[in-house]
Subunit: 341 residues, 2 copies
């Protein structure tokens, strides 16, 4: 077991000063050819690598990005991390991941832990509880200390910072319009409770699309799910009790659950009921029938967020208060759960 070697040890062995070793390894012209060679050879032999922690302390930069998301066992969030990792690595950054578990307290604790020097900046998506409480003091505090934050997907207008989102509203309108264009009239909506920002926006999009096509809104066709674990019964009831042509679901899980329920009852998809989901994940792709969805490119979103963060970190003027909100475009991936014209 040979422990990591430090500048000090090399200096001692070679009987020179620490400064000389450091400069030699950096090919400084201050050091004679001779000494440089000697030091470099020795360093290579002992596989010297500078200690990251010491560097971080000195440079006041950790070259690390902190990500805080509600959960990781979730296709969309996983793709976002993947996107962040990619561009982070390209720029020599590491990524430290914390899970809020949809809990406000955990989100706060995690942010505070990381804010004490561990990272250079945050990329985050709000937990449900945080969105419900509308308490963002932990975020503004961090920003106030000069640490940049980029929010994605689940964002809030109450905080001024860079953001990356999709146009949930427009995407929902387009999805519903697609159903209408296929001649479907009685379109149900399966959505989340309103405090989830993206759910709310998608719901609004659904309403707008119906209105602009002069379709009367039927509250009985709108299902707001609180408890995602037990959505099955509610969805099954909806399909059984209402005459429905199509379903627009604000996420994959609702979409696939709706399909399973419909199949169970004996309905055919897409002939009897068409389904469009949101977030193009693994479920939509591999479900039978496969599901038509609004594709939300997590890789792109994560990549963009990372790029914005790193740009800010490495920009000259520290506190540029000019924050941007990037909108990632979506598109509809048509699969087997919707009829072809």
């Amino acid at each position: 077991m040979k422990r990591k070697v430090t500048l000090k040890q090399i200096a001692k062995e070679l009987d020179v000063s620490i400064s000389t070793v450091s400069k030699s390894l950096k090919d400084s012209a201050e050091i004679s050819e001779d000494t440089r060679q000697k030091v470099q050879a020795f360093a290579k032999l002992y596989n010297y690598k500078p200690n990251n922690i010491a560097l971080s302390l000195k440079n006041k930069k950790t070259k690390t990005i902190g990500i805080i998301i509600p959960e990781i066992v979730h296709h969309f969030f996983a793709t976002v991390i993947s996107g962040v990792e990619n561009v982070a690595n390209e720029h020599g950054y590491n990524v430290i991941v914390c899970l809020s578990d949809e809990s406000f307290d955990k989100e706060v604790i995690n942010m505070e832990m990381l804010a004490n020097g561990s990272i250079d900046g945050f990329i985050m998506s709000l937990s449900k509880e945080t969105q419900q409480k509308r308490d963002f003091h932990h975020i503004s505090e961090v920003i106030n200390q000069g640490m940049p934050v980029v929010m994605f997907d689940r964002v809030t207008n109450d905080i001024l910072c860079d953001k990356v989102i999709i146009d949930d509203n427009l995407s929902a309108i387009q999805a519903v319009q697609t159903l209408i264009d296929k001649g479907l009239k009685k379109i149900a909506l399966i959505t989340t409770v309103d405090y989830v920002s993206v759910g709310k926006l998608r719901t609004e999009g659904y309403l707008k699309a119906l209105k602009s096509n002069d379709i009367k809104i039927d509250e009985n066709l709108i299902l707001k799910i609180e408890d995602i674990e037990h959505c099955d019964e509610a969805i099954e009831d909806l399909i059984k009790n209402q005459q429905i042509d199509a379903i627009f679901a604000v996420n994959e899980l609702f979409a696939v659950t709706a399909i399973k329920s419909a199949l169970k009852i004996g309905l055919k998809i897409p002939e009897d009921i068409a389904v469009i989901g949101f977030t193009d994940g693994i479920i939509s792709k591999y479900s039978s029938p496969s599901i038509t969805t609004v594709s939300q490119n997590g890789i792109k979103m994560g990549g963009k967020a990372a790029k914005m963060l790193i740009e800010r970190l490495e920009s000259e003027d520290e506190d540029d208060e000019h924050y941007r909100t990037e909108v990632i475009e979506t598109h509809l991936v048509e699969r087997e759960s919707t009829p072809t014209l």
Copy 2:
């Protein structure tokens, strides 16, 4: 914008020494009640929090765990991270995630980056390329420097360290036996190429199960997939050209692809063909029909790995060479893709 306050600044403001401030905040008996109160009040007012980097440098401990996995957009690996996060947080550790992208080079680079002081220990699963090359020098190097490593799932006997695995062999035997017990004889295998350790073990399990039931092994029923992106055609061919009762697939993706192919041809599941997969992910659960799988509890695996690592990190005797291999039990989750007796 108020930047983070340091001991030095507090000391200056209060006209005492840095040591006094530090001790006061730690409630040291060395400091008078008076001074202590004064310092603590001031620190609280300015929301003082010690700098993690400085602490890491001093203590030679980062309280951070590094995870290196092949990919994160993958249900199983995501659950493992989740498991690691849980117990890591409980013990005050953070988690830094790196993706090897199934590439040997990336795995090496990531390990080297993190090994230079950024973390206290590794939890990792080998990339495909690493398993193929059988080159593990980067891992033994890290271990040699005194940094503990825990490997999970995709492990190797060439490295001595703590490991967490499932009994792939036995689990496969049980799965295939289940099919046989249901009266199925012509059982196909869809597996990976041999260098993937878990794929190989599961394949062996399949073979053993057939042998012990005196069923002749038909090479035509064994499909080894190299390129996972284009497995569709091969699988469809297999189903079309061979008379098959059942399919044992070594992962979810193969299983669901097989089902989709069979349905496409017009076969009924499970009546015409039964299917058992491996890894109980989101696909198996939400597929139609849902898929019977060998459940491999990623949360448990990650949690166990984290526990082993932390125990080693915090154990008294530094270089305990007594390495353990924990086996996480699996169980078969029976769903719609297999017939009930």
